[in-house]
Symmetry: C2
Subunit: 379 residues, 2 copies
């Protein structure tokens, strides 16, 4: 088993304080938030406290937050709702070519249903340029989806500028903020978005819970049909302990985010500089400055990324090639192809993502092992 975890972008462990916050809600405070009695009332209070924390953290109102099973559900919900609700207004959707699969696949489904989907190509640095989005807007454009940060190469997108364009044109704007919430400031009013998705397990909360921000005034159809939970916007018994954990995770990030981002970006820069200066035949992917504080991403010549990940795992280091959601696909990542990497280079990719418990010593050991393993594989 690896002992140095550098794959925080795939999932983070729960903060022990999140675990502590959740524990009572599995046992003595376990009520169904829809029950009339004291157990239910206590559950409802915990639910709404968590909703207020999440809302405040992203500059939203509590009523604008729908708790979901994760960001995949949130993205699916926003996209399919918009398509169904506005199909008589238009059937054109714009997404970036480097979105997460939980945006890409719904968009492809819409294509199969007769919608027209434009894919915005990023620059070689991974940036989605606002003018390149604006150029694609048509009379019948109903939705744009551009993520806040890419999950593979960590590039931050200019979502505020794109959001301003969307608002001016009256086009719904979905921002997948799964990689940014908890790591850099996220404010739905500044971004000018209509929908924003987030996932607790990317910032030290539990897996299986997330949220969809839906701008006030948008009467979204429910994703799941059944009971009246979430003001009729998502049926299903509330995942109470996990929602409490999400709230606690938000609370911790509010207190620690700034300091952590500073520390992690220093370690990240050290990694990037070391690799570029000490290992030949490697490129750093994604814009050098406009990137997540915790993400470094490389492509190595004449290396199988899969082999490199396995070799580092043997040395007790957990890293990945890119998205966990598509591991095993054995295809070059759509993100790396979109920024212009050859298939061969793309298959030599490595993502390092740092987190709350990454130490300087971890990074030292990783860099030493990385150099060794690359040399050994290339020999």
């Amino acid at each position: 088993m690896s002992s140095i975890y550098l794959d925080y972008a795939a999932t983070t462990p729960c903060d022990p304080l999140v675990g502590q916050a959740m524990a009572p809600y599995f046992f003595e405070r376990f009520g169904n938030a829809s029950s009339p009695h004291s157990f239910g009332q206590s559950a409802r209070k915990a639910l709404e406290d968590s909703r207020a924390l999440v809302a405040d953290f992203i500059g939203a109102k509590p009523s604008e937050i729908i708790f979901t099973s994760g960001a995949t559900e949130a993205n699916n919900h926003a996209i399919f709702f918009t398509a169904r609700a506005l199909k008589n207004k238009g059937r054109h959707v714009i997404i970036s070519a480097v979105e997460h699969h939980s945006v890409l696949e719904p968009a492809r489904r819409l294509q199969a249903e007769g919608f027209d989907v434009s894919f915005v190509k990023p620059t070689a640095d991974g940036i989605i340029d606002p003018p390149s989005v604006e150029d694609l807007i048509r009379e019948d454009t109903i939705l744009m989806a551009i993520h806040h940060a890419n999950n593979e190469i960590g590039v931050l997108e200019p979502v505020e500028e794109i959001g301003t364009i969307a608002r001016q044109k009256g086009i719904y704007f979905l921002v997948d903020a799964t990689q940014t919430v908890g790591h850099i400031p996220v404010d739905v009013r500044q971004i000018c978005c209509d929908f924003l998705s987030l996932s607790a397990h990317k910032f030290y909360g539990p897996q299986g819970v997330g949220a969809l921000y839906v701008r006030e005034g948008i009467k979204i159809d429910p994703w799941l049909l059944g009971g009246d939970q979430e003001r009729g916007r998502r049926a299903s018994t509330h995942n109470l302990a996990a929602i409490v954990g999400l709230g606690k995770a938000v609370h911790l990030c509010r207190n620690h985010r700034e300091k952590e981002a500073k520390e992690q970006s220093a370690l990240r820069d050290r990694i990037i500089e070391y690799v570029l200066n000490n290992i030949p035949g490697v490129v750093s992917n994604g814009h050098r400055q406009r990137r997540l504080p915790n993400n470094a991403h490389f492509a190595f010549e004449n290396i199988s990324g899969e082999e490199l990940v396995a070799a580092l795992d043997m040395a007790g280091i957990a890293v990945s090639q890119g998205s966990a959601c598509t591991w095993g696909a054995l295809e070059a990542s759509h993100v790396l192809k979109a920024i212009g990497l050859s298939d061969r280079m793309a298959l030599g990719s490595l993502r390092i993502s740092l987190g709350r418990w990454t130490t300087s010593q971890d990074v030292d050991y990783f860099l030493q092992q990385l150099k060794l393993k690359v040399e050994k594989i290339r020999r």
Copy 2:
């Protein structure tokens, strides 16, 4: 806060052993089951161990189990998949009039989309008679959904007989077994169903996780689109700790179910006998024998069930009128109306549901308080 919890049908606390089983998966064993490294491998193993436990518990194969966010998602998934997949074969659906809202509401959505939905009326005892289902079958019937037990009045339905009919006619059969799994034996082969839904928080597992059984050979479309999780049948990062908890809950029920059912049905019978013999103006709802071991359900004349629930809550007892999912609706339950209760009687309803930690003393105290409160309210 209530201290005697008799609303296990709404939700159960986690068994402490379930909590213990989950804990490592929030922290040291927290990996993303789709990650390539050791953390991911360990997560995958836990995931598949849990899947094997769940499958075995209901007589299924592991490959027939899709982990979901709960039974609502499972029911929605099965119904909407069938409707989309078979709409060219037929557009007629049969459901019982007493299904849970997570079946009812999807069926109503299908009606709005041009499907024809027949609602099978139960007997006054709450039984869905197989001939009354068979009578409704048409050439264009593509799906029947009859739950294994009703969530309000606890009646067990003859799903094996209905399943045999469905199989003979080549009609897909969905069984919502949310109330039965963990409480009475459930076997998908015996039931002859194509889909079966279950939810961990109804049998001492965590909220926010459940499963959908999909019979081998049915190529179900994914409910969530994105990554390739669950063999492409449900995208989204696995809710690992909760899935481990579901497996542990199944394991515990396998060991304790029989004994618990015996104990609980004795307490249940004591409650029903006491109430019918000692409180005037009350009826017991649902078939007297063919019912869940842990469910007693009454309707009181000249009583507001809401007031009674509140009065008992003040006395430290948590019970409910019926389904938690529709609390606050202030409408008479569709279940009670379907078995022929007047609106007035239906609004005087009370559901008592027992569980793993219900003691004989709890029942004594409850019965004493119930008699007192009914008399006080009627005075």
